[in-house]
Amino acid sequence: MIHMQPDAVISHFPHKRMEAWKWTDLRMSVSEEHMGLTRAVTPRLTLPDGVSCSPGNRHHGSSGVMPTLAAGFAPVCWNIRVPTGLNVQGPLRIDNLSGGHACMFIRVDKGASLDIEEYHQGPDRRFSNMDLQVHLAEGSRLRRVVVQNDPGNAVRVATACIAAEKHSILEQYMLSFGGALSRLETRLYSEGEGIEATMNGAYLLDGRRHTDMTGHVEIAGSHCTVRQSVKGVVTDKSRGVFQGKFHVKQAAQHTDARMRHDALMLSDTTEVRARPELEIYADDVACAHGNTIGALDENVLFYMRQRGIPQARSRSMLTEAFVAEAFDDLDDAASKQSLLTRVQEWLA
């Protein structure tokens, strides 16, 4: 446990002169009035049958300053474990992640399977910092569905570090409505062969909200498949940030990795920053990235209105269809519907 005054904590925060945070200036966005800077928050976990949780120590990984701070302020790291071969029924629900630092470690043992639902939402003026570490053992599977929806004056950092052994599967779907600043970061370390990862997400922002979806994927084993598609919708004076990096190591032959970020600017006062990056050291791979930023097609809108669909409805239908693509592959109907309902509510 560390003890520090709020201003001292803030002085440790990353800021825009650091490459990885250049569009998301955490230090500038937080003030001493934010509650939770120096305290821990206890996540509320709804454990499905067969999944255990106990307080323990954090596994040390080099995942950056924010996870390190989380570990420093949180007195315990919640260790969650799914035993070998267990196909867990029903989701592990995680909420109450607002107003402090939280530290969790999830281990999905060999051949086991787990669905997580994370809800990152809380009251006004909270600072929240979650450090989630995940270990996926051989042949295991994890689906992580993340919903983040904070008040416009709340600041949140959520970092997930996922180490994946061979033939494990990660399916991740994030939906973010931002806050004063929200940084949702995923770091995936594919350490074995034949890992399959989907890392999709969408952010929908209005007012002066800010969401940063950052992904970092390191691929060290052969025959891994990575699919990343992030959709952004921004209006008013909001700001969307996407940073994606695939680092394909020399041994990672036959990697098939694709990254996309597509953003829709619904007004011209918004800002979208995107940095898709590939760093490839293996020679027999199929890797691609794409990035588009655009507006709704006026011709398509006219066509819809000609058929009698009012303008506002035409816009929301097109926007919803654009966002929904990020969740196309989510094969849990209820979960998908719940994400789409949130999108529809935002659009209404």
Binding site: D297, E298, N299, V300, F302, Y303, M304, R305, Q306, R307, G308, I309, P310, Q311, R313, M317, L318, E320, A321, F322, A324, E325
Partner: protein
């Protein structure tokens, strides 16, 4: 009216043509669309496309508009439907005694105006049936009529699709995305038959259709011919007019109707070309 027997059964589902008729037969029964001395500019006034354009279409009539490429036929269709970028600098358009130019595109659709686009747009991510059900119900709601339930709509959509020989699979796909040129045109007619508009503008719907499709489409259009409906058919080819016999044929050239004639006039045109009239 040409044979299209099964389709007429489909009309009995849900949509209340009776109510529709009341509004249709409003004050001026004779004239449905009246275009008077219309001038239209595009590109913020840089180019004048139509000027001194006059056209009257009475209810129950089908008028064909022919004319050289770039004459302004599509421009006319966009002005009628209210597309941005086509500015009226002079003249008026009256539709069933209302000032059409004052209305938003969706209001014109609700008033019964339908455009079969020369180049139909693709609607990514929106399944054809979802799109159409939304459109139909939006129109019904705006007219104060009862919306169609999902099963009733499906029944109707399937029945119309069958008549147009559209595979049910296609209706699940996002509208027009990846459809062939001919399929898109057929889909325009599908929408038209579902929405049952009061006034139809068809912009080169025949271009890109194979011979069989042309027949199917023409049958569909003919099934919609009625004393309450008006139609404006833009085409380059006599072929379509063999199936859908117009009451009048106009040549659009030099920004206005240069010459008009009866159904046979289209044949003369095809033999002689536009040069005589376009001067």
């Amino acid at each position: 009216m040409q044979a299209f027997p099964k389709l007429s059964e489909a009309w009995e589902f849900g949509i209340n043509l009776g109510k529709h008729d009341e509004t249709l037969q409003s004050k001026d029964e004779a004239l449905m669309l009246k275009i008077n001395n219309l001038s239209v500019v595009v590109n913020n006034g840089e180019a004048t496309i139509l000027s001194g354009f006059n056209l009257d279409v009475p209810a129950g009539e089908v008028h064909a508009i022919m004319g050289p490429n770039g004459a302004g036929k599509s421009t006319l269709s966009y002005v009628l439907t209210g597309r941005d970028g086509y500015d009226v600098t002079e003249g008026s358009v009256t539709y069933r005694d209302e000032n059409l130019l004052d209305m938003e595109p969706e209001e014109r659709a609700v008033a019964g105006l339908f455009l079969s686009f020369q180049y139909p747009l693709e609607i990514p991510g929106v399944p054809t049936l979802t799109f159409l059900r939304t459109a139909l119900n939006a129109q019904l709601r705006a007219r104060g009529q009862e919306e169609l339930s999902a099963p009733d709509f499906m029944k109707r959509a399937r029945s119309v699709a069958k008549e147009l020989r559209i595979k049910p699979d296609m209706l699940k796909r996002p509208l027009n995305v990846g459809f062939s040129g001919g399929e898109k045109k057929r889909m325009e007619i599908f929408q038209m038959l579902l929405l049952e508009p009061a006034f139809i503008v068809m912009d080169e719907t025949d271009s890109g259709l194979d011979i069989d499709a042309l027949r199917v489409v023409a049958d569909g259009v003919n099934a919609l011919r009625s004393p309450e409906r008006g139609m404006l058919i833009i085409t380059h080819y006599q072929r379509l007019l063999d199936y859908i016999v117009p009451n009048k044929v106009h040549v659009l050239a030099g920004g206005k109707i240069a010459v008009s004639g009866d159904a046979d006039f289209a044949r003369t045109l095809e033999a002689d070309g536009y040069d005589t009239y376009a001067a």
